[in-house]
Symmetry: C2
Subunit: 480 residues, 2 copies
């Protein structure tokens, strides 16, 4: 380390001092008060000698600092530290001194949409990636990169890559009976982002909206952002109680529903209610957002026909995600909307975050077009179905102790119900179980009568061990 | 094509009919009215014979359709089409019948944040990717994929990958004098998304906010989403007129500024105003969002010191993007915030769209840590600097005709000013030029006295040809 002669300027810890180093050290010294306001600096000649740099470089650094107002020149007298520079004191910043808005506090205090860092029984309602053909995917990605060329680096259409929109339309027609055109498909990063954009587009501040009760918490968060007046509508074993909605808020602007496999109860919406819901929307000019979030994972029978295909008046917006069926970091979801909504949604998307990167879209369209997706979905249906069977097998003894569940043979989670749910959850926490209460998903904390077992991302042994731990906890709560 | 005997059911165009085909055709026939409500269906035995499928399969398909309510069974009488199924008529949906909200209409009608599909002179204020080391990037990506393993497929921290947050903190300390900790960095998909989250977190509905006038339109869109009361504050050759803001809205909650290189005028905020702005924020407990969107591209002198490093009270939030310095589809931006804001922002992020995929973050952190980013920035500084010099060279003759521009030697666009700007723009459109008016960026359409030449993404020949076409158009408007 070398000290400059004259000792006015701080040392620079480098064998060869560059202009950037000199600039940084001088600015830092001014900012932290080492060089206080009014202090005279050495001549550029002296600086050049001290730091073994050229006088020209010293001159350039001084000129920059003068330009920025850190230094001042008095002709004939020399260069001085500007008196107007505040001294930095960055410590002592407390959370209390940080004025977050009321809205911000309300939204940001909820970690409901945050996924767990570590998967444990039963916090894992997510995709299992152990069997995902990752090598094959990387090969497809390399091919997509070759095909896109430098197009992979540039802007992509905010509506989605044409190849992906077409692949999604074909997939939906084949596997969900949603006979839409590619031009009706708009790609998003996630269902959550799609909900956000849809609610911003379709709702004004304080518009009433039907929300299933209990509900998917992401939808609640997106509606809260949009400033909607949330009207909770109860769910029973046939799904949303449409008649309750009609009674409580007939003039709602929109209804958010998960008709194939209600989140979190698992109920399927009955045809009668489907028809009533669509009738209401047509009559009132309201929207229905149909979130078909895990329709791919039905282990028995055909998936139920979506609302979209029952709706003659185009009041239903269909929403699906690929991040649950491919892998979670894929970040691809889509909506099917009437064509006049496509351009407005694309404009909104550019105002939210721009567009989805083209490479992942191109890779996914190859994955779909070459038939890998149906193959993988079929494979995973077996994997999840086996986990579900193992779970239910281990839980069998609870059935005789008053616990109930709907065996709808679908999805990546199971809801088990009993009046002692909250007590069992508290006891099971000691065994490392991470259980959600049904009441966490309700509009009001009512009776705690259900536990959500999210098993999708766990391995089969974790599922079984977790179920055994749950049964043991239940026995401690209610000794036989 | 085979027709079933009995002719009740529609034909299926397949050599071997599967259950899925049968299900789809029957459901489709019910939905489109081919099979009207009340119609009796053939027995499953007849169906099996007609379609050459097993009777068991036909039975399964019927049961599914009964489950879903498309069909009904009358014991001893047979199976009937349900009378409650509506007939689809999807045509005739007009834009007028689609109730978009007022807010939605206001936001979605603006394509201001949408990038052009085809780059022309001068609509291209974006990164030039022609020299980007795409092959090298793909190698880094393959390495990142190996290092992440299946972690590449799963959830990532909504705050950003630790390796990328650390790389960004190092980069900012070295190149911008922003001496922050990795724990203060939060990663987003884009500056736009970061602004969206910041405004949602920090602002309540109708909070007054200073916005530069003219301004970056993305910031205006994000403030509009947040429901802020926008207070336009004029910009002159020294940047934001802080005194105007103090006079008009001393109690504003936040100020959005681009102090290094004001968008779109290019002015640098003077030190005196920087100090006044920071003083105001400290006194009032207001926030300053400092958008340092293209600070990397300064062609002469050192970049100006950011507001962040002048601020002793942590009122400044620093915002930067990597999509301008690496490539546009990278979709990575970041903010530097006081630590108590990190978790609230992460929660908000999960409610907006989840998280940024880990693979691109890991690749970018390798690109930064191995020194490729500074090398590439240096290279591109020369490339953009040469384009800028070519542009200004071609425009030289306009200077003698009353046109002015600030030669601040930075950025990816140039603002040229003259009272005839709107007229010249209209004439130049015939030559294929795509020019933005300065007034497009103003809070109110005033006098049209400037043209924005966005050249970043153009090749040098396009820049020169575009400039020559502009000069020719100007001559037609004002003959010598």
């Amino acid at each position: 380390m070398r000290r400059p002669r004259g000792a006015l300027l701080p040392p620079i810890d480098a064998d060869r001092v560059r202009g950037r180093d000199l600039y940084r050290v001088l600015r830092g010294a001014v900012l932290d008060g080492t060089l206080p306001g009014g202090e005279q600096l050495p001549s550029t000649r002296a600086v050049g000698r001290d730091y073994r740099v050229s006088r020209g470089m010293a001159e350039q650094v001084y000129a920059q600092l003068v330009d920025e107002g850190f230094l001042e020149r008095a002709i004939g007298r020399g260069t001085f530290v500007s008196a107007r520079v505040p001294v930095a004191r960055r410590n002592g910043v407390s959370a209390r001194s940080l004025p977050i808005s009321r809205r911000g506090r309300a939204a940001a205090s909820s970690a409901a949409c945050r996924e767990p860092g570590v998967l444990r029984p039963f916090n894992a309602g997510t995709a299992d990636t152990r069997e995902f053909p990752w090598k094959g995917w990387q090969r497809l990605q390399a091919r997509a990169a070759r095909e896109l060329g430098r197009g992979a680096l540039d802007f992509a259409d905010p509506r989605g890559l044409p190849a992906l929109r077409a692949a999604i339309a074909r997939y939906l027609a084949q596997f969900r009976g949603v006979a839409c055109e590619p031009g009706q498909v708009v790609v998003f990063n996630s269902s959550q982002q799609a909900l956000f954009a849809l609610f911003a587009l379709l709702l004004d501040w304080a518009d009433p909206v039907w929300l299933e009760d209990p509900c998917y918490l992401g939808a609640r968060a997106a509606l809260a952002f949009a400033g909607a007046e949330i009207v909770p509508v109860a769910v029973d074993e046939h799904g949303l109680r449409v008649a309750d909605g009609l009674r409580r808020a007939p003039r709602a602007r929109l209804a958010y529903v998960t008709p194939s496999h209600q989140y979190p109860t698992g109920a399927a919406l009955s045809l009668e209610r489907r028809v009533a819901l669509i009738d209401w929307a047509a009559k009132r000019g309201a929207w229905i957002v149909e979130d078909d979030y895990d329709s791919e994972f039905r282990y028995a029978g055909q998936p139920l026909a979506p609302l979209w295909s029952l709706d003659p008046r185009a009041r239903v917006i269909y929403l699906g995600t690929l991040s649950k069926v491919v892998f979670v970091s894929l970040r691809l979801a889509y909506v099917v909307v009437p064509k006049p909504l496509v351009e407005p949604l694309a404009n909104l998307r550019t105002q939210l975050d721009g567009f989805t990167p083209p490479l992942v879209q191109a890779t996914t369209s190859l994955f779909m077009d070459e038939g890998h997706l149906p193959t993988y979905v079929r494979r995973m249906r077996a994997v999840y179905g086996a986990k579900r069977a193992a779970l239910i097998g281990e839980l069998a003894s609870l059935a005789s102790r008053g616990w109930t569940w709907t065996d709808n043979a679908a999805g990546l989670h199971l809801l088990v119900r009993h009046a002692s749910a909250a007590h069992v959850r508290a006891v099971a926490r000691a065994s490392g179980l991470s259980l959600a209460l049904l009441s966490d998903y309700r509009s009001r904390r009512g009776s705690d009568d259900g536990l959500l077992l999210r098993y999708g991302g766990l391995d089969p042994e974790q599922v079984r061990a977790g179920a055994r731990a749950l049964v043991a906890a239940e026995r401690r709560v209610q000794p036989p």
